[in-house]
């Protein structure tokens, strides 16, 4: 578990284009020791997080990890069992959803099917007693922002999925909520549209300086959009950090596996010389690693190597391993190899193509930089 949960580091996106209201140092959203339970089932435990104004934070995890429950608890759609939630410094535990001033975007768009685009987007403004003339102007601006100007009179049914989600986004931001909550907003879209919307959402978030909390199970979305990622598993926080931190230095075995399917090679420290150590792998070969702190002989460790950092070919530097190619997937610019190191330990390597491909059944050499790996201890926690 990361140590910087309670004190988020300032991010570049924390400085918004528009001056933030009130105390700029006050987090936009703060969770303190949240626990959410349904009867005996604990959906979320010991969850503390503060989200800096103007930042883009993602809750990432597999389905059932509690990420959506947390998002819904800010919205007031789920009651917390203990702890407290503040939005803009105001405790909202007893504030009903319609007084929380949050923007919510759903996976299924949830545009009101019987209302026009204009009435959908104007809905939040209407309930904030915004004068009619201002409503028209703000709706127009919001539609321009999501690049659907002039669609006021259409019904949601006349729009494509991507367009509907843009309108849903416009509807959620038009009244300048304290925080924008996005619940898997891209999951219902097809692949092309998803990528386009990813860029679009990020652009709009930057332009408006709105604080965003994004929930997804898609690591690519999380890595490409977030200022910070909170990796969740089984109701608990596994790691919190920038996309680079969580990807390059996963705090737990779960994070290493969930983000990018890292190779996990269990073994024991055979010889140790300060931070340098030789690890005898369970698969039968041994590798050299550089640990952040000295290791002692006989310690059980797991060597975590990203497929991108495991190089196939005889010219590899650092560690040398050999294995038999089980499968080769040619992807044009790169190739993914599955290689058996012996004893049924299969590793994946994802390399840019330089020279001939290694084919199935071939025995190849492969290796990685002793500094290009992460070490986990016997409990699956990162040795740091």
């Amino acid at each position: 578990m990361a140590t910087d949960q309670q004190t988020p580091r300032p991010t570049s996106a924390g400085v918004s284009a528009r001056p933030a209201l009130g105390d700029p140092d006050r987090p936009a959203v703060e969770f303190r020791d949240i626990q959410i339970a349904y009867g005996k089932f604990v959906a979320v435990r010991d969850f503390s997080l503060s989200i800096a104004k103007g930042s883009f934070v993602t809750l990432l995890g597999p389905s059932g990890c509690g990420k959506t429950t947390i998002l819904r608890s800010i919205a007031g759609l789920v009651d917390i069992s203990s702890g407290q939630i503040s939005i803009g410094g105001r405790r909202v535990d007893d504030v009903p959803i319609y007084k929380r001033n949050i923007g919510l975007v759903f996976q299924s768009y949830a545009l009101f099917p019987h209302k026009t685009v204009f009435d959908n987007v104007a809905f939040g403004l209407k309930y904030r007693n915004v004068p009619k003339a201002d409503i028209a102007r703000k709706v127009g601006q919001a539609l321009a922002m999501v690049r659907l100007p002039g669609s006021e009179k259409k019904l949601p049914s006349q729009l494509s999925g991507g367009q509907q989600q843009r309108i849903a986004l416009a509807r959620a931001i038009v009244f300048e909520p304290e925080v924008l909550l996005l619940d898997e907003p891209l999951s219902a879209l097809d692949a092309n549209m998803r990528e386009e919307m990813r860029v679009e959402i990020k652009k709009i978030q930057k332009a408006t300086g709105i604080t965003a909390l994004f929930v997804t199970h898609d690591q690519e979305e999380a890595l490409s959009m977030s200022d910070r990622i909170v990796v969740m598993n089984a109701g608990s926080m596994e790691q919190i950090g920038t996309p680079q931190e969580v990807y390059e230095t996963p705090a737990t075995a779960f994070v290493a596996d969930f983000l990018g399917k890292a190779n996990m090679l269990p073994g024991t420290v055979a010889t140790a010389d300060g931070v340098r150590a030789k690890v005898a792998l369970a698969a039968g070969q041994s590798v050299e690693v550089v640990s952040p702190r000295p290791l002692s002989q006989g310690t059980a460790v797991t060597v975590v190597v990203r497929p991108q950092k495991l190089f196939v070919g005889s010219a590899t530097a650092g560690n040398r391993l050999s294995g038999r190619v089980v499968s080769t997937s040619y992807l044009g610019g790169s190739a993914i190899y599955e290689i058996d190191l012996g004893d049924k330990t299969i590793v994946r390597a994802n390399n840019a193509i330089a020279g001939p491909l290694a084919h199935e059944g071939e025995t190849v050499e492969l290796g990685f930089d002793p500094r290009g790996c992460v070490l986990l201890d016997g409990k699956g926690l990162r040795i740091a």
Partner: protein
Amino acid sequence: MTARSGDKEGRWAWRMTGFITVCVYVFMFAPIIATVILSFNSSMFGGFPMTGFSLQWYVKLMGNEQVLAAFRTSLWIALVTAVVTTAVGVVTAFALVRFEFRGKQMLSTLVILPALVPETILGVGLLVLIKAVDQPRTLLILVLGHILLAVPYVVLIVQARMVGVRRVYEEAALSLGASRFSSFREITLPLLIPAVIAGALLAFTISFDNTSASLFWRPAGVETMPTQILSMLKISISPEINALGTVMILVTVGIPLVGGIILQSLTRLRRRGEPKEETQ
């Protein structure tokens, strides 16, 4: 079926099915058609053969104060029943679908129970009850009785539709600042409209048609259309009854039919607006 039409046995079975179907339909509709046709018969007797075409029975009907009074009574009772039942039904269905509470299962069974209990039992039951609390049989009791009979159907119809109106619409409305009541009025209710109309029409028809329970509950001297017809039948099968029957058919079939058409066009309008259901 066409694939099998070649073999003999299949063709025979197909013909048999067709024959039985026709028989069933004749059996179902012959009495209705006979009533309608005979209402235009000029003969004094309310049966075949036809002796000529005439509207005299309708004219006579229009002049029959008793019939007109019964018609008015039935119309009012049905209207009040439809309005009250729909309101009660929508609220009940909303509670049963959207909220979790203790005894919910029992309540939802209890609500539809009046539809399962024989009407005669209900009729006697309500009578015994009002006798027990020493109340006279009034028009109010009759209306309440009809509401009791119609509520289960309205609840069932609205409940079925309610399940299809995804909660996410209400959640969206709430998140945008609408109170629970506003989100119900602005989002849920408009999306339920097809079911609300269907429920109201059904409640109207149930009340307008009801005979057996009305016989128990009606105050002295008050006749509804069905009880009026019954008492007229006691004297003779006059052709006037055929005319009256035709009017009844027009009202009880025509109103739901018109409603159904409205309903369908409304549903079509809504359907287009709904994205595909997502399962998480």
